[in-house]
Amino acid sequence: MTEKNESGNIQLAQWLQEVLAAPPGQGQTKVDALRDEEVVAGNYHPQFYTQLPDFVMALLKNEPYAILRYAPLIYHLIGCRTCHTAYLEIYDAMKAAIRSDIVVVEVEEDEQMRSMVSVPIRMVELLCELLIDQAGALLRQARHDHTQNDERARLLLQQAIYISLHIKQNNMRQHTLRNLVEVATLADTIPDPSEQNPAAHSYASLVGSGNGSRNARVWRGVHTLERPDSQQVIYLQSGRLSGAITQHEDTLELHLVELDKQLRGRYINISVLLGTLLEPVRWLGGNPRAIRSQAPVDADGSLTTPLGTTELRLSRAEDRYLLETLFKKLDVRPAD
């Protein structure tokens, strides 16, 4: 190769790197920039990252045309430092793994016997957070590529929720699941027709709430003579508004008070965003995103209406954790 050719190659390589590195904002509309940013937000690119072991193995085995087969990945590695670093790590580790003189690394006997209970809580938190992050990355990628990753993301979110039940401290569990609603919303690209209008109120479950004055207002508002044990109630909050979910045998009931004047005398639609994620509740009407109240909001702005039935029990700690998570976001809007 001549010196001129070599110099041309170096120039072209630098140009290619510039093209593939995609500096944020440059030459993009605001929407494009936002879209790209969304994918990069997770700092890695699932569709390329997952190809790395196969690509590395093809290189290690000197497979013919591996470079052509994995060309898009190679072009991606030129422009993405995060995925390139992962490539180097995986290359080295896989090379070590397929050596013919591999020495067996022992797993100690006590490592085989332990259960989830013995895992340090910070490691349980980490796993939940990573599963939620991975679901988010898959959904952002799908949105960017106009493809579907909802089922895969849903499975990861379900596992994150179930694994989080091993975290007994309420605040730690809530912190671990803090991104759950945001990620679940990413899957929600086609809203239910009943959700066309903005929510009148958007409630979130209050975890570990006791017998405060705010909660007392709920019971005064719904004219209940007997206030349930606080362990058998999930309190809800939307700004200054309060609400609660109680259980009567298998039925989950929603209680809302002090609703706006424009909602009084009207039926409302209730949407439980995470209701489609977990299956242990049989929702009234079958669709957790469109539960129609069984009665109109009364003249005082109060409403009590069933949401669905379940074998889960608010009195059992693990079931309660699950239901609290399920009601992390509950929207209400006029039904008509």
Binding site: G27, G79, Y87, K95, E106, M123
Partner: protein
């Protein structure tokens, strides 16, 4: 339950404890003087768990296609993890500016590992450098490799209906002094580039870059070239006239007979080659083409200077 690649995929709750315990023990060992710092141990362990989650292994069940990691034996998978932990531990030690022995050696830890210095071996000194070791090297390889350069040209061809963007690219290649691409632009787009006014070139250049990036990282461009290559390689003489034929099933496999393309991928690529006038295929299960077409297909994936 003991962890394995399969168990991490299907039974993460049952094997997570044994997995974490293994990672922690190995991390403490490789972190040496940092091994007593639980934050450092967690950093290493978290890195491995994060990587396996991002690779689509942990908790993926049947919703993520298996990777070759899962075809490793249990011993190989443990060796993979062990090496990953070791590399991350070295990384942490370096960040803390603690000494890491550079002595070369062959990895022999195992039953008596606690008696050995974990840093008597080191990755780079024993192993050859990986291909594409830096993004810069990968970029240089991309412009030197015949196939990768063919893909770049194919992506430039897709800008055929955007003459301002083509002009912006041509100007860039001239400024860079990349003769081969300047010639390519003249040969392919002379007609389109006549009378194009050089307005707002910066904006057109950015749009061209974005389209090129999407095309180069897209999944179909390389498959077209791969299928064209296989048609040439696998094409059998079928008639006295020199007509060649290749079944689609064969186009789905590599030279060693291992399937690596789907039926749909092959058919999409064939459709594109038809649209480029390189084939007359109309959906048949056996692709037939003439000697002349075979020659044109061969030119499709070769650099001009190699023709």
């Amino acid at each position: 339950m003991l962890f394995s690649a399969r168990n991490l995929r299907y039974h993460i709750e049952d094997c997570y404890s044994s997995f974490c315990s293994f990672l922690q023990r190995r991390a403490k060992f490789y972190l040496r003087q940092l091994g007593h710092d639980s934050m450092e141990v967690d950093e290493v362990v978290a890195h491995i768990i994060e990587q396996l989650t991002r690779l689509g292994l942990i908790g993926a069940r049947d919703d993520q296609p298996p990777t070759l990691l899962e075809q490793l034996t249990d011993a190989q998978f443990l060796a993979f993890l062990n090496r990953s932990i070791k590399n991350k531990a070295i990384d942490r030690l370096r960040k803390k500016r603690l000494p890491v022995s550079l002595a070369a050696g062959i990895e022999t830890y195992g039953e008596v590992e606690e008696e050995k210095d974990p840093f008597e071996d080191r990755v780079e000194t024993v192993w050859s450098k990986p291909p594409f070791a830096t993004p810069e090297e990968a970029a240089l390889e991309a412009v030197k490799n015949t196939f990768l350069l063919v893909l770049l040209k194919e992506c430039i061809r897709l800008l055929g209906n955007a003459p301002h963007q083509l002009l912006a690219l041509e100007q860039e290649f001239e400024e860079l002094g990349v003769e081969e691409l300047v010639q390519f632009m003249h040969q392919e787009f002379d007609a389109q580039l006549t009378n194009v006014e050089a307005d707002h070139m910066s904006q057109h250049k950015d749009h061209a870059h974005k389209k090129l990036r999407l095309c180069l990282q897209g999944s179909s461009n390389n498959l077209r070239v791969l299928v064209a290559l296989r048609l040439s390689q696998y094409g059998q003489h079928a008639t006295k006239t020199g007509e060649r034929s290749v079944p689609i099933k064969q186009l789905m496999t590599d030279t060693q007979g291992k399937q690596d393309l789907s039926d749909q991928e092959v058919k999409r690529a064939l459709g594109y080659l038809v649209s480029r006038g390189l084939l007359n295929w109309q959906g048949e299960e056996i692709v037939r083409f003439s000697f002349a077409q075979a020659k044109r297909l061969a030119r499709y994936y070769e650099k001009e200077d190699e023709q």
